[in-house]
Symmetry: C2
Subunit: 493 residues, 2 copies
């Protein structure tokens, strides 16, 4: 109340203003004065040092995708101090990402904050989340080198620090493959992160509005409104389906001046949805074609700002180019001096350990079984990553309970059952009320495969129950409901 009384005084007596203001400011901002601060705070070691034998051991997890987050969820915070290092503070619920590009779902509904997945990282004294990239792993000294993400902010320099680990789990994922094709990185948009979906949405709405401008040549209108998707895997097919549905339902109503100019083309070098049953693939092709998606078999050779060139020399003008041709090893993984699996991933044994060094594990799209295990490298799928995360959380909890939690503590320990992967099946939606569900364990095996409305219902229900928090389950349901009632949202924010 002191300030308030002073304020009233000010409005009548302005004479002594500057002195009082100064006092007030000094009083208010006194916590900035550092003269009396002990120098200890600055002399601190820049990082987290090794844990002591009487302290909880520390697990460091690099990454916050399906693998890393499932691991974080399963780790027991009463056994370990948990540290997660990732350039994003949330997990992306990737199977629903395509729906956010056209406004069927809100961006927020597919992002799950890590602090909700493993609350101890924001509350336990020795557990942390660091918004940072890992730049190197020093397996000799059991240390990870990190650098903070500054995200273009000019007022903060990247801060380098080291974290000592007792157990390290590399779950940093893969990166989108461009197959060395020129111009992909510059002109195409991937569909792996929420900011990609935001960029696609902004560009789509921008092009819809720009094409309405008076006097624009017909050809330019067609180019602006030609949406090209390269890659016929589940992501490419789902995005094409959502897009054609958006065009038929929303563009026809809300952009009726330009509705005849907008088209979707899906380019694939081989077969679309190659992992699915033939019957389902045919169903998908039929349904996509009926929805107006042009399916083109071709190999992209070059990408220019306004068109792409196929290997037969034909040019395809585009206004929006989405690239979803799968993933490959990331620069970070390539830089690590660790053994590699076929395909260049981090090589692991049956217990997901990196066998040449102590206390290093790897899960998700960045790891693969070493050739010596005799097992095939598993596909880069959410369900593989999730199953590995769950397995490793249990393994690490067991190791700690058996007394091997600290560095070098699990050297000669019996780790129990190795990791076994059983494929549960695949799902993909192909537009409004239609989806594919393939419950066979492999392409050759027999089993249930469904297509149509029932699949679509299973697809939605399955995803709704797998979204991590109740909050997001609720939001996804509400989003689907409002899209059904009011149509998609078209504000470009």
């Amino acid at each position: 109340m002191f300030w308030h009384r002073e304020l009233i005084k000010f409005s009548t007596a302005t004479k002594s203003k500057s002195t009082i203001t100064k006092t007030l400011v000094q009083a208010s901002l006194s916590h900035f004065s550092t003269a009396s601060d002990p120098p200890a705070s600055v002399a601190k070691p820049s990082g987290l040092g090794p844990t002591k034998p009487d302290e909880k051991p520390r697990v460091v997890v690099l990454g916050s995708g399906w693998a890393g987050c499932r691991l974080l969820k399963g780790l027991n915070p009463s056994l370990y101090d948990i540290v997660c290092v990732s350039p994003r503070n949330h997990m992306v619920f990737t199977p629903l990402l395509a729906s956010t590009c056209v406004g069927t779902l809100e961006f927020r509904s597919v992002a799950e904050p890590i602090a909700r997945i493993q609350p101890s990282i924001s509350s336990a004294p020795g557990s942390y989340f660091f918004l940072a990239n890992s730049t190197a792993v020093d397996t000799e000294n059991h240390e990870v080198h990190c650098e903070t993400v500054t995200d273009g902010t000019d007022t903060v320099d990247p801060w380098k620090f080291k974290i000592s680990y007792d157990k390290l789990v590399i779950a940093s994922g893969a990166q989108a493959s461009t197959f060395g094709i020129h111009g992909v990185k510059e002109h195409a948009i991937f569909l792996r992160e929420v900011h990609h979906a935001q960029e696609i949405r902004r560009k789509l709405l921008l092009n819809l509005m720009l094409s309405d401008v008076p006097g624009l040549p017909e050809e330019e209108k067609r180019r602006l409104l030609h949406c090209v998707v390269v890659g016929g895997g589940p992501t490419g097919v789902e995005f094409s389906g959502e897009l054609s549905d958006f065009i038929r339902r929303d563009v026809h109503e809300r952009y009726s001046h330009v509705k005849d100019y907008i088209h979707v083309t899906l380019i694939e070098a081989n077969e679309i949805l190659s992992s699915f049953d033939d019957r389902l693939r045919h169903y998908a092709i039929k349904h996509l074609t009926k929805s107006g998606v042009r399916l083109v078999r071709g190999i992209v050779k070059d990408v220019k700002p306004e068109n792409l060139v196929l290997s037969d020399g034909s040019e395809v003008p585009y206004g929006l180019l989405v690239w979803s041709t799968g993933v490959g090893p990331s620069t970070f993984v390539n830089s690590l001096g660790l053994p590699k699996s076929p395909g260049g991933r981090i090589g692991v044994d049956e217990w997901l350990r990196v066998p040449t060094v102590q206390d290093v594990f790897s899960i998700g799209d960045c790891c693969g079984f070493l050739e010596s295990t005799g097992k095939p490298v598993l596909p880069a799928l959410a369900q593989v990553a999730e199953r590995q995360g769950k397995y490793l959380a249990n393994l690490l909890n067991k190791i700690c309970k058996d007394g091997g939690g600290h560095a070098y503590g699990a050297k000669d320990m019996n780790l129990g059952d190795p990791f076994e992967y059983k494929h549960l099946g695949s799902m993909a939606t192909v537009g409004r009320f239609k989806a594919l569900v393939d419950l066979r364990q492999s392409k050759e095996a027999k089993g249930i495969s469904l297509a149509g409305f029932v699949s679509w219902f299973i697809w939605r229900s399955a995803y709704l129950t797998r979204v991590v928090s109740w909050r997001n389950r609720f939001y996804v349901a509400i989003n689907w409901l409002t899209t059904l009632v009011f149509g998609r949202d078209i504000s470009r924010i």
Copy 2:
């Protein structure tokens, strides 16, 4: 089904692949071939020409704020072709913008697409929405010059075009005042658009995470987590209140490592909430102080990347700086050769016409009564803009019904009652469950003024019923409910 059959054939017979692919691609992309296009499409005049006497007259509205959108809503599309030119395709529900910065509301819930406010702009043949900035007004030729917004997209050059109008309404708003203080534009964030709120949110969450990094000096932690708000009007106060509530409710739970370092300071040169009743102001001061907001009276002299300098020479380090000191005439308004009101706004008469030229009107924050009308310039408030938009929509509909819709058609027409403004009162929230409602017509008048929970309830209900569409009303209610149940969302997307 042709493509599908071909696809199946491909998987067994790859011999004839390239020829078939070429045929397919050519068939699929044939709409791009421009050789047979008539050259007429390119020779089109670049813009919308004057309307003919037997066509509907055209109203061109510049801007999509409170004034422009209320006007668009009220215009009768069976009387006029309606064209809106604005750099954003939605209206921002500004009173709720502060709530989106900390995740109480989603960004989408406060943005209303213009096509929902006036559906004819996306469906009627002669009505349009153009995502563009107006660069000049040629009152002689009844034309507006426009340039498309390209938003940093390198593949699209700005497209210049002209629109002929029968009636022109300038509702392009004002711009944030910086009072010529060095560094404000570069380092402070305003709070007027959705992208401002997004930037504030991203920076706040970035700073919260960066300050948790090991080894960071104490002083730097305090700086990163010092949120400074300059300007004690309703926006500044509401944002400070939301922020302190976010800190007390969410930071303490989800960022417990750094919770003692985060502080909010509100700097105001005069009195906070100066338009409110004294009793309400004291209540607000008491409540903000209790919530931990430091109130500082001071004048900002200079803004540097990491600290700002007050006029008494004291330096205030900050991590986030929000600037909300009111608005002034925009560069566009300054560039127009039209008469000006006191304060540099576009001068209008009692019927909101620009009296020196024909068929030009102005509403909202960009207009003010000419001195010759003897009326005071109205404050830059949403309720003024909204009332003016409503009045002018009725006036323009009346003019057209009376046969004066076309250019120069209303020259000597009797326009009926002039615009009269009656202030309905002011509202501001000061944090969780607390708000001020001042229903007096002016500072000197008597009337009802309330503070506390009842006001907060009135505030929420009033806003909920004023959000334009049912979709957004529903979303705002759902957002408030989930924030209450699950806490605020902290994912940084």
